[in-house]
Symmetry: C2
Subunit: 340 residues, 2 copies
């Protein structure tokens, strides 16, 4: 069996990444090239795919009939409106990279390699997690299974691409303006409130009543949902840093069962989507690992102040693992399970 695939939001950053991945993917047999959907602004745009030119259609909400699978790389408003229409028109599975459906009880939230078994109970929609959760959840799942998680404390260092292309351009322009006109000194004054350049911003998304941001709460709630551990003790501080691509996370984990450093490293090394930097003096950085598919984990060490606790440092390409790559892996997994 081969499938008919549609991509919603095909001209955005995640859509473009997904098309690049699909070009070299051999695990998902497509009957015809993917059908591309975008806003009225993108409609008519031509996008190269293998040796063909695909034309972007406007997603009216009425033109999904005939598709088996729709991957949505669009934002929440679009997901909210169009995904139910796609299901009504007979699309068998919609994989949504946005947050809109993630916490719905009847929507499985999946990071491939972590909880693919939840694909089995989908009712038409599968959601992928937030980019900062997607890379965190892989080592956490390994440690949860092997030793049990007692408590997790996460601080993130998130690149501006998480906020879209405009944010990347904004960082670049700010930096160009400052480095053209000034020299490196201590009296550099802010250009504007919450500038990205030469700054770190401890606020991503909106504040909630309890003082967390929505971004931080996503990490907490999505981790609990994917691990099926609704009471898991986990907290997060999410911070924007002036990096273009690649999210980094400093993670402290307390385990339920005693484990040696060697046992922790061995367990992590066994996961196919993790690249473990265990050699002395090595550590992943975002500029080095951007563009690669694994979740990179390094600086793994015993937190000597606390029983069964470990510190670690996780870096991944947020556009890949955080969205396009995970969506494609979910599609492949669902295909293999006969769930499309």
């Amino acid at each position: 069996m081969s499938i008919k695939l549609g991509i919603l939001g095909a001209t955005g950053k995640v859509g473009i990444e997904l098309l690049k991945l699909l070009e070299k993917c051999t695990d998902l047999p497509l009957e015809i090239p993917p059908q591309l959907f975008g806003t009225s602004r993108s409609a008519g745009r031509k996008i190269k795919f293998k040796n063909q030119e695909l034309i972007v259609e406007e997603s009216s909400g009425q033109n999904f009939a005939g598709l088996d699978l729709l991957i949505s790389c669009a934002n929440g408003e679009v997901s909210e409106k169009l995904i139910p229409l796609a299901l009504k028109q007979g699309v068998k599975l919609v994989i949504d990279t946005d947050s809109y459906y993630r916490m719905e009880a009847n929507v499985p939230l999946i990071t491939s390699g972590v909880n693919d078994e939840d694909i089995n109970w989908h009712q038409g929609i599968i959601a992928g997690p937030n980019c900062s959760t997607a890379q965190l959840i892989i080592p956490l799942k390994v440690l949860h299974e092997a030793f049990g998680l007692k408590r997790v404390v996460v601080s993130t260092y998130q690149s501006v691409s998480g906020a879209g292309k405009a944010a990347m351009d904004s960082l670049f322009e700010e930096l160009r303006e400052i480095t053209d006109k000034q020299s490196a000194n201590e009296s550099l004054k802010p250009l504007k409130k919450d500038q990205f350049a030469f700054n770190v911003i401890p606020k991503i998304s909106k504040f909630m009543e309890n003082g967390y941001t929505k971004e931080e709460w996503k990490v907490i709630a999505e981790t609990r949902k994917m691990l099926h551990a609704p009471e898991l003790a986990i907290t997060c501080t999410a911070v924007r840093v002036p990096v273009l691509v690649g999210h980094s996370e400093s993670i402290n984990v307390e385990l339920l069962s005693p484990a040696s450093l060697e046992q922790v490293i061995t367990a992590l090394k066994a996961h196919e989507n993790l690249e473990v930097w265990a050699e002395k003096e090595t550590y992943p950085t975002p500029i080095e690992v951007a563009g690669t598919e694994p979740v990179h984990i390094g600086r793994i060490r015993k937190d000597e102040s606390t029983n069964n606790a470990f510190d670690m440092w996780v870096v991944a390409d947020n556009l890949l693992i955080g969205a396009a790559l995970n969506a494609l892996r979910i599609a492949i997994s669902a295909y293999k399970k006969n769930k499309i």
Copy 2:
């Protein structure tokens, strides 16, 4: 009584900051303008101080006689060699901003406002802490006194000025090169290993046998020394970010006694060196607070996953609180205690 002050390493970043602070300081009566010492390269340089021009002398190690107080803003090698010579020549107190003497049992390690009482037992040398410890220790001291600390997990976001002027220039040049020649896109390739630009680096200073870096270990050991809590459970991951001035820290604290969010905020507000950002939707960022004297603390919230735990975000000017300002405050405190 007025005092004769010498400044070692007067032409470096910290020395310059100290001179600026001294110009407006009225709490430390100087008999004559400070005597400035530098390397042979800096000798002869003229530095403006109030309406005078001071001339930098080469620090031969033999020209400290007659000084009451020497503040060393030089590096560890210079401290190691020259401070004993200064004491032999009768200097009553040396305040060292470097790490060389910090962990010596007979050297008090002081953050003014935290453990000034330790000034009383100095034997000629007082050390100031590492910049990343200096801003962390103030809120920790408040919480330790008010509620007791059970466990602390810290992740830092440290500016390149912590690595000196050359690192600041290096970041600036890397950024200028990249933004002149390229545009913001995902395929930006690294210029070199461990570049500062568009990157975060989870390694400051050297690695130790236990997997921590020396920078991280300083935070742990210095905190324990200043709080007189040698067994305190505290861990740290120290990370360099592309910010010029201002270190930020994401801190998770478990307390021994129950405390409400309001009680925590009230306790922190009572410390004169802390500026608490408790209003909704406000938070300190390094570019905003660089150049200011307080340690800024915001994002204070209950870690809802754990009993008596709180998350918070601390930002300060690392050149001030981390070195020059703390050295001056120690000097004033020692003067008031008649310990110079």
